[in-house]
């Protein structure tokens, strides 16, 4: 492993690779700082760009975007109390009061440092935990792969927000989208309408861009708001000289909350928002001045920021080792890996180690560059909110069209992207979330393949196929976790309803 790490370091410290990560990080911070845009959208629209690049460069670019966007959300949360990403909401609780009290610069520095530490802790976890977990996945046969797919799909219960039924319907719609094209076992075409472009299924990247970007662009046009008014707040950012002490000011909270965020990131569907809220609570317990929380204290920024950046690489662990994307961004990242010919599992850390390790090291570098960018001028990134709405929408629309076209220079992809975008916007309008659809779309074919192979192994005997799942310990464990992941959110929702009714 050490040689792989050294090889990864060598590859990433190439000037061009560093420049790519830096570009991705800066782009990510800008996307995160814009309240209308999300990390998911940022990564989705840059996948076509990464596809045209060398895999190491392309994936490093996306790593930079993911890290940068997760941090960037805190900038608008602090300055205008409008979190750029949902995970940055808790940062605003203390960050915005600090800005209002004339300590905006300190709040921005604290968010940046905490994000950096959280990110580094999770990158380290990815580096150390992922390879042995991937080696364990070698024990998986078709039954285990099917159960993994099922487990991934049960995450929908947690991803579906307040309405589980709609989430599950969305997930099933994703499964339907995933069944377009040749069936994975016999190669017989389904739902292709005689179009050659659909034989290999709906193209992953245009579909993801359509679901996330086109529907988001339409929302921006219709709601006529994408950027926040930051003029007043920017004037209130104070002059503050950054010192080395700032880097270690809350080290205990950075490390503890970063580790917490990493763990939460590894739990599918838990996500950045939960990590941030739990990080806030943990840093309050660790703080010497818990009574200051909520009034504008630096400790209140340290916890949520390090925790929500801990999620970044934490969510990559199950995705890269077992092929279970725990959130929307990692689902899109999985699509990007597949586009570069990389399949999650042990192969990533053996045969494709020359790409995977530089990609993991890129996260370390992205976090470091994010720290530098943030310390040098977080308040300058906030100025992206000054970009007039009309230009932002127009350029993003062109970027998505050219991006979908660039995947394999096909107009069919562009029309597919538009069509999926319209469907996505319609579903968004009637209250369906996009994440379960993406999860169903990505995991459906994996689950189907596992199921079909199990059937064939068991001589097409349905009873024998089903009973074969109960003879394999890993399948039983995965089944138990799947049931738990459906039941737990239901219990939590019922409790919340009870609490709300009691209040």
């Amino acid at each position: 492993m050490l040689s792989n790490i050294l090889m990864g370091i060598t590859a990433i410290f190439h000037p061009l690779a560093l420049l790519t990560v830096l570009g991705g990080t800066i782009f990510g911070i800008c996307v995160g700082a814009l309240p209308g845009l999300s990390a998911t959208m940022g990564v989705a629209i840059l996948i076509p760009l990464s596809y045209g690049m060398d895999p190491v460069m392309g994936l490093s670019l996306l790593a930079g975007v993911y890290c940068g966007a997760n941090y960037g959300g805190s900038i608008s949360a602090i300055l205008v109390n409008t979190p750029g990403t949902p995970a940055a909401a808790a940062t605003g609780w203390d960050g915005h009061p600090m800005a209002q009290n004339g300590h905006g610069k300190e709040a921005l520095v604290e968010a940046c440092v905490a994000s950096h530490w959280g990110g580094q802790i999770s990158s380290l976890a990815l580096l150390l935990i992922a390879p042995p977990l991937a080696a364990f996945s070698l024990r998986f046969g078709p039954q285990e792969n099917f159960m993994l797919g099922v487990f991934g799909l049960t995450i929908i219960a947690s991803l579906s927000g307040k309405d589980m039924l709609k989430g599950i319907i969305g997930g099933i719609f994703g499964l339907l989208l995933g069944s377009v094209g040749m069936d994975p076992q016999y190669g017989i075409a389904r739902y292709t309408f005689g179009q050659m472009g659909l034989i290999t299924g709906l193209p992953t990247v245009p579909t993801l861009i359509g679901l996330y970007s086109i529907s988001q662009i339409l929302s921006m046009v219709v709601e006529k708001a994408a950027t926040a008014d930051i003029g007043e707040t920017l004037r209130s950012v104070n002059k503050y000289k950054v010192s080395v002490r700032d880097l270690f000011r809350n080290l205990k909270a950075y490390l503890a909350c970063g580790a917490l965020g990493t763990f939460i990131g590894m739990v599918p569907a838990a996500g950045g928002s939960i990590a941030a809220f739990m990080g806030y609570d943990l840093s309050k317990r660790l703080s010497k001045t818990p009574e200051e929380f909520g009034k504008g204290c630096r400790d209140g920024i340290a916890g949520p920021e390090s925790a929500n950046n801990g999620v970044v690489c934490g969510s990559m662990i199950p995705m890269m080792t077992l092929g279970i994307p725990g959130n929307a961004v990692s689902a899109i990242m999985m699509g990007a890996l597949m586009l570069h010919g990389l399949t999650p599992g042990n192969d990533l850390f053996t045969a494709k180690a020359h790409i995977t390790y530089p990609y993991i090291i890129a996260y370390f570098v992205a976090n470091l560059l994010m720290l530098l960018c943030g310390l040098i001028g977080a308040e300058h990134f906030a100025k992206v909110n000054r970009i007039p709405h009309q230009y932002l929408v127009s350029v993003i629309l062109v970027l998505t069209v050219i991006g979908a076209f660039a995947v394999n220079n096909s107009y069919v992809n562009v029309f597919i992207m538009l069509a999926i975008g319209v469907i996505g916007y319609f579903l968004r309008c009637v209250g369906f979330d996009m994440s379960p659809i993406v999860l169903g779309f990505i995991l459906g074919p994996i689950a189907e393949k596992g199921w079909m192979r199990t059937l064939i192994i068991n001589g097409n005997d349905l009873g024998a196929a089903v009973s074969s799942y109960f003879t394999r310990p890993i399948c039983i464990v995965l089944l138990a976790i799947s049931i738990l992941s459906i039941v737990a959110p239901m219990i939590a929702r019922a409790r919340n309803r009870k609490k709300a009714a009691g209040a």
Binding site: I169, L176, Y186, R190, L218, V222, H389, S394, V430, E448
Partner: protein, 179 residues
């Protein structure tokens, strides 16, 4: 219109929640019923198509479409049940006619852009599209800039995207009649 979140003590918690209190009965759940209804029809259509598929490969899509139809039916039934009991629903409020027109025009613009780019080529089409679409959005939000700004932004964006995709990534961007 009653104040947001006050009528009958109900709390509208979504960004669009203010629309919630305008409606009553089935109208309240119109979006939920429409959404589930459209998806039901989509699943039904997809199921109907599986009947012509090879028997070896249709089991999975049939399972998926049947599950989809069943859950959509449950969702519609739930909406009807809730509408009778006036249970709050958290779906975005209805779109205004202006918003529908905006969405349709934006999609039409994107569609025209894709069609025209094959004839006029990347450079001219993108330049014209960004300038025109930015002006169109400016009109909707009533925030105008000087005409030169539209052209400058359009030229700059076209150039940057051309350099990134056309030169750096070697994507064969469409060449048209002129360039």
């Amino acid at each position: 219109m009653p104040a947001f979140g006050t009528e009958n003590g109900l709390q509208g918690r979504t960004a669009y929640g203010r629309h919630f209190f305008k409606e009553r009965g089935l109208n309240l759940y119109r979006k939920e019923i429409t959404g589930s209804g459209v998806l039901f029809l989509l699943f039904a259509g997809a199921f109907w198509m599986t009947l012509d598929m090879n028997a070896k490969c249709r089991t999975y899509p049939q399972m998926v479409t049947c599950a989809g139809m069943a859950l959509c039916a449950v969702c519609i039934a739930r909406a009807i049940f809730r509408s009778k009991r006036e249970i709050p629903v958290e779906v975005p409020g209805p779109m205004t006619a202006e918003q529908i027109v905006l969405a349709v025009l934006s999609l039409a613009a994107a569609f025209v852009y894709i069609l025209v780019i094959r004839i006029l080529g990347y450079v001219i089409t993108t330049f014209l599209f960004i300038a025109a679409f930015s002006f169109f959005i400016s009109r909707t939000i009533r925030s105008y800039s000087s005409p030169w700004v539209y052209f400058a932004v359009a030229a700059g964006s076209t150039l940057v995207l051309y350099l990134v995709f056309g030169r750096f990534l070697n994507v064969p961007l469409p060449k048209g009649l002129l360039i």
